[in-house]
Amino acid sequence: MSVIPYHRVNVLTGIKSARLIEDAQEYADLIQKAKRPLLVLGPLLLKRSLDGKLLIEYALEIAKAANIPTCATAQVRAKMAELGVKPDSFYDVVEIINALKDPNWRGVKKEGNHDLVVFFGIRSDLGEQGLSVLKHFAPHLKTMTLCKYYFPNANYSLPNFRKDEQWKAFLESLIDNLKKGA
């Protein structure tokens, strides 16, 4: 909870900031409650691994467990092809955000715009800017992040995990919870 001073005109930071969530169950519930979620996959997923398992593999498990359509940005699709998975859509990050901003967009499944967009693996500066676009111009949807750090411009974000193990535990627990809920 952020505390806003009474005379906000002089001191307000302006950040309508993300709700910080550490409980994987709560994340899973939010994802499962969404009618048309979307998982946006960024190129950092190809660069980093946790305990020898590439982040993209966690991402794909999440997508599978919760049956969320995916959007592959940058060269993520190349790795997915290697893993034998076809993304549901290909847009680069600024393009998918530009589309999401439009309430009348029909979404990657042509069933209507998404109500929850989960970002995973976008470099934090670009990700934060993209989330800012949606915070200001896409009141029709909510955003969530799965990266290791806190993203204030999202609606729901993980904390700054100091250790990879904490992050890994979260992702694993999220996958378990999504499987249980499915």
Partner: protein, 768 residues
């Protein structure tokens, strides 16, 4: 009645200024355009390429009504909303950038007119007749002397004032109008840059009308540190040229080493091929902290604002030579030279000296005096290891790093005697110095980085200024038909995600026979790589503005020659008049010149205005990931947007369906994605089937290379008829097109946006 009179008077004034009576070309509809004059063109562009805002801050603190929170649908005390506030910021950034170049141009002009008088002739050599495509197009003037350039720069100054005025609290209230103003500022920037570089070429005898300019030694290790070293930092060559003159005249040039960081280095090397180019802006702090420079001379733009502190720390002497950055130093311009030298040596005092002659003499004397007493050795691995011991891997440095990597991990490895990680990380470091400032244990991170920096030396080709008219005649047809697949301009600053990306991109596109043009810091780092034969891209590829050439135009202000080349194609090759005829030029470039700018490491406001100027002229720009902080892009939605054009031959509006070019300002997260976007953004509606097939061949092959095989899913939008399909991929593409129910469509004979929006320009004007 009063209004008509006023307009007539204004027109008369303009005609006088641009010497309209000299009939080198008829004067077009918009000589010396003011804010509203090209607004309809801007609005037409913005309709397809809508501004995409990524607010960097939710607040406004411009006036005492604030701070105002503009989150979501809120408005500030003056009524502004978040989108308009972003557009206002963009305009401000463009104005800062435009002013930097224009003031630079103004200063150089003053300096040269003082020396040669206003009647000094502009002569850019036998192969350049269209000496100033921007000034001719925008201002409507054919500049013949330095004095004529003053007319152009004064026009720019005046427009800047009007634009800046509109950003004050309680003025413009439309983001689209702010964008139109930003586009205006961007256009003016290219005029200002052109003034600056033409003046420099004329006044300092830089190479011109020549392609194979000398190859210059590049890299920090190229600097001979056994000699007294004078380092120039910044952009403005008024100082470096005078210092070199002084050394030559006093027979000291053999004894003193001159080098530069950032564009001023490129300028010095255009003046003397013995001047060394240390590297881009991102190596500034690294090199200064190495202590190799005995005297640092700053001029303007892209100089660190803590220079006096850094110079003192490194034991270097500092002279600030321009009024733009005086650092609170004592102005010694009137002081006795010997007295300045004495105080600089004995009291280690820094000075501002605005008289270049005096600054030159002081620099030489101080450098020669203090050099022998200073240690100038690179750190050894053992010393680095020793210095790294204190690191406890706390991660504070990672938190402040704008390139988002953990230098602390590299330092911790050095402490164990392992250097691979830090060597890798040195390629990512953009040289901001924040890590060292943050480190609670005060580790000298930059010093430690000395063992990570390659001691290799490289080559960069000296900047050659404008593209020659003769070259334009050769490439005009193949570029507009598409058989030269595109002009790829890799330009600007050094906030790179990875410094190695630039040479890789240059190499990839030169190999593919694009015309690759480079400038500024990007031109330097393009040279910081060697192939298996030990050759840099400048040695590997020819220096001509032709298929497969790699052309360094010069410093930042030389970017005007790249956009100028696009105008020259319309003017020289297509024989369209350019004088006061901006819309026709921009329309031609947008529809027919397959050029794209890549500002992969853009960080400054100057990059914002240069890019925005490219956009108004119809040239799309790809930016690196950091550039999302510029707050605004121009994006289309290819499936939804309006891709109708006028076919000027048939006089009918046709829906081309093809998003060509797809975006005007675009951010890519990775170089792989950028390399797939480059060929796509070179596609133009005017491509012949043969040209289109060549462009699509590169688009598909780069897509396959970086995106894991398969065809780009938007390929059908760019295939008009079967002959557009590249031979190698014929079968695969045909199958795909059949699967999705693609239908052939007629290419447009003479595509133009003129006639699709309200404009004073008649459709006839685009027919050549």
């Amino acid at each position: 009645m009063a209004k008509v009179k006023e307009i007539t008077r204004k027109l008369e004034e303009i005609q006088k200024k641009i010497k309209a009576e000299i009939p080198w070309e008829p004067v077009g509809p918009t000589p010396m355009p003011e804010i509203p004059d090209l607004r309809n063109w801007d609005m037409r562009l913005l309709k397809t390429y809508a501004p995409f805002y990524a607010p960097f801050c939710d607040l406004c603190c411009f006036c005492t009504y604030g701070k105002c929170d503009l989150t979501e649908t809120r408005r500030g005390g003056c009524g502004i909303d978040i989108a308009t506030q972003q557009a206002r910021w963009v305009l401000l950034a463009c104005l800062m950038g435009c002013s930097a170049h224009a003031a630079h141009g103004g200063h150089i002009l003053e300096f040269l007119i003082e020396k040669y008088g206003p009647d000094k002739k502009i002569d850019l050599g036998g192969s350049i007749n269209i000496e100033a495509p921007h000034i001719r197009t925008v201002v409507g003037l054919k500049p013949e002397t330095l004095g004529d350039l003053v007319i152009a720069i004064e026009y720019v100054f005046k427009e800047i004032t009007h634009l800046l005025d509109s950003t004050a609290m309680g003025q413009e209230g439309s983001y689209l109008d702010y964008e139109s103003k930003a586009l205006h500022a961007g256009m003016l920037d290219h005029v200002g840059m052109e003034v600056a570089d033409i003046a420099q070429i004329v006044g300092f005898n830089y190479p011109t009308s020549v392609a194979d300019t000398p190859l210059i030694d590049l890299g920090w290790a190229a600097v001979d540190k056994s000699k007294p070293v004078i380092l120039f930092v910044g952009h403005n060559p008024a100082t470096s040229t005078v210092v070199i003159d002084y050394l030559r005249e006093n027979n000291l040039y053999d004894q003193v080493e001159v080098c530069g960081v950032c564009c001023t280095a490129l300028e010095a090397s255009r003046y003397s091929d013995r001047a060394k180019v240390v590297g881009p802006f991102s190596r500034q702090l690294f090199f200064i902290r190495s202590g190799i420079a005995d005297v640092i001379m700053t001029d303007e733009q892209c100089i660190r604002t803590d220079m006096p502190i850094e110079a003192s720390k490194a034991g270097s002497a500092l002279i600030a030579t321009l009024d733009k950055a005086m650092y609170g130093l004592e102005d010694a311009s009137e002081m006795d030279t010997e007295e300045i030298v004495k105080q600089m040596i004995e009291d280690k005092k820094h000075f501002a000296i605005l008289d270049p002659r005096k600054a030159a003499e002081v620099a030489a004397k101080v450098a020669m005096e203090i050099a022998p007493q200073r240690r100038k050795e690179w750190l050894t691995e053992e010393e680095a290891r020793e210095l790294s011991q204190k690191c406890n891997d706390c991660g504070m440095c990672e938190q402040v790093c704008p390139n988002l990597f953990n230098i602390g991990a590299g330092i911790a490895e050095v402490a164990k005697g392992k250097f691979d990680l830090i060597r890798e990380q040195f390629n990512l470091c953009v040289g901001c110095g924040k890590c060292e400032a943050e480190c609670p244990r005060k580790l000298p991170i930059f010093k430690i980085m000395q063992i990570a920096a390659s001691k290799e030396t490289w080559k960069v080709r000296a900047g050659r200024g404008p593209i020659m008219d003769t070259e334009i005649r050769t490439v005009g047809a193949p570029i507009t038909l598409g058989t030269i697949p595109g002009v790829v301009a890799i330009v600007g600053c050094s906030n790179f995600p990875d410094i190695r990306d630039i040479a890789e991109m240059v190499d990839e596109f030169a190999k593919r026979k694009y015309i690759v043009v480079v400038s500024g810091c990007s031109a330097m780092v393009a040279g910081m790589w060697k192939d298996a034969d030990g050759k840099t891209v400048y040695e590997k590829y020819p220096p001509n503005f032709d298929m497969g050439g790699v052309v360094n135009v010069g410093s930042c202000v030389a970017n005007s020659h790249i956009t100028g080349a696009a105008i020259k194609i319309a003017n020289i090759f297509a024989a369209l008049p350019l004088r006061g005829n901006y819309e026709v030029m921009a329309d031609y470039v947008l529809n027919r010149v397959g050029a794209v700018g890549i500002a992969w490491g853009a960080y400054s406001q100057k990059a914002a205005s240069i890019a925005t100027g490219c956009n108004r002229l119809g040239i799309p720009v790809i930016l690196g990931p950091h550039s999302s902080k510029y707050r605004r892009l121009y994006l289309s939605r290819k499936e939804e947007d309006d891709w109708r054009v006028m076919d000027a031959r048939k006089r009918e509006i046709v829906d081309t369906v093809e998003p060509a070019p797809e975006h005007l300002a675009y951010v890519c997260e990775t170089k792989e994605k950028a390399m797939v976007m480059i060929p796509k953004l070179c596609i133009r509606r005017n491509d012949t089937p043969q040209g289109r097939a060549i462009k699509l061949n590169h688009y598909i092959s780069l897509h396959k290379k970086f995106m894991g095989g398969g065809l780009p899913e938007d390929i059908h939008l760019f295939v008009r008829r079967d002959p557009d399909i590249p031979l190698v991929y014929k079968k695969e593409v045909r199958e795909y097109l059949q699967k999705i129910g693609w239908q052939p469509r007629e290419p447009v004979g003479l595509p133009t946006l003129i006639g699709t929006y309200p404009s004073k320009v008649p459709v006839d004007a685009v027919i050549h």
